[in-house]
C-alpha cells in the first residue's frame, strides 16, 4: 500500500469515527482479534529468523515485558537455548499501559493482568525468586532463596522500583514494584483523595478517588485537582498528564468541569523534550483550562489536612564567571504548600538497590550500557534493556519493543565470538491520551524530532490513535512482543 493511499484511507477512518463512535465490544472484537490474527499471520513485519547454534547459559534478571520478550526471541533463535529467568512476581508481565485506563474507569484491573507463568517460553527455566547479589567478575548471581547461579551471559531487565518513601508524610518506608505486593503503599495512596496509577491496584483506587472528586464538583463544591511529576526519570513519561486529561474528560462528562481547578506540577520546566510535542500539549492544556506550574517537586503530603508540599526551584543571575566569560546562575528554592481535594502522585522511581549498588550499577543506579548496542559498559557478557537500562528518554514498552530485538541480535553475536553490530536508535512512543476518544501519538527518538510511523501531522489528536491505544496495543504486546515475534 503506498503512502498516499494509506493517508487518504486513514483520514477517512479518522473522520468516520470521530462523529459516529463504535461500541467497545465491537472495536475490541474487530481490532483486537483482527490485529492479533494479522500479527500471527503472514503480514507480520518480522524478518526471517536466522537460527544460531551458539551455546551458553543465559540468565535473565526480571520477567516483565522486556525480559520475557527477550527470552522468547532467544528461544526462537537459538538451536539449543539454555535460558533461566529470575522473576518473583506472579503478574510481572502485566499490561501496565492499561493502568491509566483503569484509573479513569475505562478498563478494569483484570483487563491488564497477565500471569507470568503463561508467558514463559517453552524450554526456558523460571526461578520464582529475585536476584539479591551480583558478582559480574565471577559471572554469578545470588538469589533471594540463597541459590548461587553461574551464567555465561546475563541480561538485566529488572525494571524500576517506585519509591514513595521519598515523599514525607505518607508513612511509607518500602519501595514497591508496579505489579506485586502494594499493601504498604495502598494503605495511604488510594485513600482520602490521594491516588496513583503507577501500581496495579492503584489504578482501581484512582478511579474510586476520582469519582468522589467528580461527585464533589457536581454537588457544587469548588475542588482542586493536583497532578505531580517527580525529579527522577519515570516509566511512561506521559502518564502523569494522561490521567489529568482523563480527569478533565470525566469532569466534563459529568457537567462539573467549571467547579474544578486542575493543575499539573512537574519538577521540570517543559511538557515534553520534543519542542513540537511540547507546544502541542501546552495548547491542549490551555484549550481545556488545565493549568501548569513548572519546577515543583513534591516532597511531602499531609493527608489529614489535604496539603501537598512542593520544593519550588528557580534560577537567578549569578556572579561573573571568568572561565565562562559570562554570568553564571544561582539556584534558589523554597517550599510551597498547595491544598488539594484530589492528588495524583507520580512517585520517584529508582533502580533496585541491590543492582544500583552492585558493580553493574552506576552513580544514578541505572545499568550503564552503550546506548546503541545495549551492552554493559564494563562487562561484555552483560546486557540491559527496558526501564533499568541507562539510556536517554524511553522508559516505555514502546522502547523495550525496539530494544529486545537489538539486544538478542547483539547477544547472539557476542555468544558467537563476534562484535555486537545491531543498533537501537532511541525510538520510543507515547500515545498521549488527551480525552476519552482522542490520542496524540507522540513518536520520537534521540534526535528529539518527531519520527512518525504514519504520514500524518503527529501533533494532532486523533480518534484513530485512541483505537490503537485502547484496542490494538494490548494484543500487539501479547501476541507480538511477548512471543518474541514483533
Amino acid at each position: 500500500m503506498n503512502e498516499k493511499m494509506m493517508k487518504e484511507g486513514m483520514e477517512i477512518i479518522d473522520a468516520h469515527f470521530k462523529g459516529e463512535g463504535v461500541s467497545r465490544r465491537d472495536a475490541m472484537k474487530m481490532f483486537g482479534a483482527g490485529g492479533a490474527a494479522m500479527l500471527l499471520g503472514s503480514g507480520v513485519p518480522t524478518q526471517a529468523q536466522a537460527s544460531s547454534s551458539a551455546k551458553g547459559k543465559i540468565l535473565i534478571v526480571g520477567g516483565g515485558l522486556a525480559g520475557m520478550a527477550t527470552a522468547a526471541k532467544l528461544t526462537n533463535t537459538l538451536d539449543n537455548p539454555d535460558i533461566t529467568i529470575l522473576e518473583p512476581g506472579a503478574s510481572s508481565t502485566s499490561y501496565q499501559p492499561g493502568q491509566t485506563l483503569v484509573g479513569a474507569g475505562l478498563w478494569t484491573n483484570e483487563d491488564t493482568e497477565y500471569k507470568r507463568d503463561d508467558f514463559i517460553p517453552s524450554g526456558a527455566k523460571l526461578i520464582k525468586e529475585s536476584a539479591v547479589e551480583f558478582d559480574p567478575d565471577n559471572n554469578t548471581v545470588k538469589t533471594s532463596g540463597g541459590q548461587t547461579i553461574k551464567y555465561d551471559f546475563l541480561v538485566v531487565a529488572a525494571g524500576v522500583k517506585l519509591d514513595f518513601s521519598r515523599i514525607k508524610g505518607l508513612g511509607i518506608t518500602d519501595t514497591i514494584t508496579s505489579r506485586g505486593d502494594d499493601s504498604a503503599v495502598r494503605k495511604i495512596v488510594g485513600q482520602n483523595g490521594i491516588a496513583s496509577i503507577y501500581f496495579g491496584n492503584g489504578g482501581t483506587d484512582t478511579w474510586t478517588q476520582m469519582q468522589k472528586f467528580i461527585a464533589d464538583a457536581k454537588s457544587g463544591k469548588k475542588v482542586k485537582g493536583v497532578f505531580t511529576h517527580p525529579n527522577t526519570p519515570i516509566k511512561c513519561g506521559g502518564a502523569p498528564k494522561k490521567i489529568m486529561y482523563l480527569t478533565d474528560a470525566r469532569l466534563r462528562e459529568a457537567g462539573a468541569r467549571d467547579n474544578a481547578d486542575l493543575t499539573f506540577y512537574p519538577n521540570g520546566s517543559a511538557m515534553f523534550g520534543v519542542p513540537e510535542y511540547h507546544n502541542a500539549i501546552q495548547k491542549q492544556f490551555t484549550e481545556r483550562d488545565m493549568k501548569w506550574n513548572y519546577r515543583h517537586n513534591l516532597i511531602a503530603v499531609d493527608p489529614k489536612n489535604k496539603v501537598a508540599t512542593f520544593n519550588r526551584h528557580w534560577k537567578e543571575k549569578g556572579a561573573w564567571d571568568e572561565d565562562l566569560e559570562e554570568y553564571g546562575i544561582d539556584l534558589k528554592s523554597k517550599e510551597v504548600e498547595v491544598p488539594y481535594d484530589f492528588l495524583h502522585i507520580t512517585p520517584p522511581m529508582i533502580a533496585a538497590e541491590e543492582i544500583a549498588k552492585s558493580p553493574l550499577g552506576s552513580t544514578k543506579g541505572w545499568v550503564p550500557v552503550k546506548k546503541e548496542t545495549l551492552q554493559h559498559v564494563k562487562y561484555k557478557n552483560v546486557f540491559a534493556l527496558g526501564d533499568i537500562a541507562a539510556v536517554p528518554m524511553g522508559k516505555t514498552g514502546g522502547s523495550a519493543r525496539k530494544q529486545y530485538a537489538v539486544l538478542v541480535e547483539n547477544l547472539i553475536s557476542v555468544m558467537e565470538g563476534k562484535e555486537p553490530t545491531a543498533k537501537y536508535g532511541g525510538y520510543t512512543v507515547c500515545p498521549l491520551i488527551t480525552s476519552i476518544g482522542t490520542v496524540m501519538l507522540a513518536e520520537f527518538d534521540w534526535s528529539k524530532k518527531p519520527t512518525p510511523s504514519f504520514p500524518f501531522d503527529p501533533t494532532q489528536e486523533r480518534w484513530m490513535w485512541w483505537l490503537l491505544k485502547v484496542y490494538a496495543l494490548k494484543p500487539m504486546t501479547q501476541y507480538g512482543m511477548l512471543s518474541g515475534r514483533a
Binding site: M6, G9, M10, I13, H16, F17, V22, A27, M30, F31, G34, G35, M38, L39, G43, H229, P230, N231, P233, G237, K241, P266, N267, G268, S269, A270, M271, G273, R295, H313, D323, L324, E326, G328, I329, L331, S362, W366, P368, K370, K371, V377, K378, P392, G398, R401, G425, Y427, F444, D445, S447, K448, K449, T451, S453, L467, A472, L473, M476, A486
Partner: protein, 130 residues
C-alpha cells in the same frame, strides 16, 4: 454499524501491516561540529573540570574521570537537552546554562564522541586500584 466494522477491519489491517513504528526512522539530519571533542575539552572544559577531568572543589565541579563513556554520555546528553524525560527536569541546571553559553562561543560537541574522548584519556577504573 456494518460500515463501521468494515472501516475498522481495514484500519486494523493497515496498522498491523505498517506496525506501530516498525520503520526505523533515522530522524533528524546529521549535525557537524566546528571543533573536535579534544579541542573543546582542551580549550574550554578543562578550565572548570580540570586537565584530567578530575573535577575542581574550588569551582564545585564534579569529576568526569570516574565514569565510562556509556554512562558519561547519558549525563552529557542530559545537560545538553536539559533533561532526558518529558517533565522530570534535570540535576544539571547550572551546567545546562553554562553549556548554552559555551555553544554560542563555538564549543558545541557530540555527547557520544566527547564521552569517548574523556574515557580514553582520563578514566580511572576504581576496581583496578589494588
Amino acid at each position: 454499524m456494518k460500515k463501521s466494522i468494515l472501516v475498522l477491519t481495514t484500519a486494523a489491517a493497515m496498522l498491523t501491516i505498517v506496525g506501530c513504528g516498525s520503520k526505523d526512522n533515522a530522524g533528524g539530519e546529521k549535525v557537524t561540529y566546528a571543533k573536535t571533542s579534544a579541542e573543546v575539552y582542551t580549550q574550554s572544559c578543562y578550565k572548570c573540570h580540570g586537565d584530567k577531568a578530575q573535577g575542581m572543589t574550588e569551582k564545585k565541579t564534579p569529576p568526569m574521570n570516574d565514569r565510562q563513556a556509556g554512562e558519561l554520555e547519558l549525563d552529557l546528553y542530559d545537560v545538553k537537552n536539559e533533561g532526558t524525560n518529558q517533565s522530570s527536569g534535570t540535576d544539571h541546571d547550572k551546567m545546562a546554562h553554562n553549556m548554552k553559553k559555551l555553544f554560542e562561543k563555538g564549543f558545541d560537541y557530540d555527547p557520544k564522541s566527547m564521552a569517548m574522548y574523556i574515557e580514553k584519556n582520563f578514566y580511572i577504573n576504581p576496581h583496578k586500584k589494588k
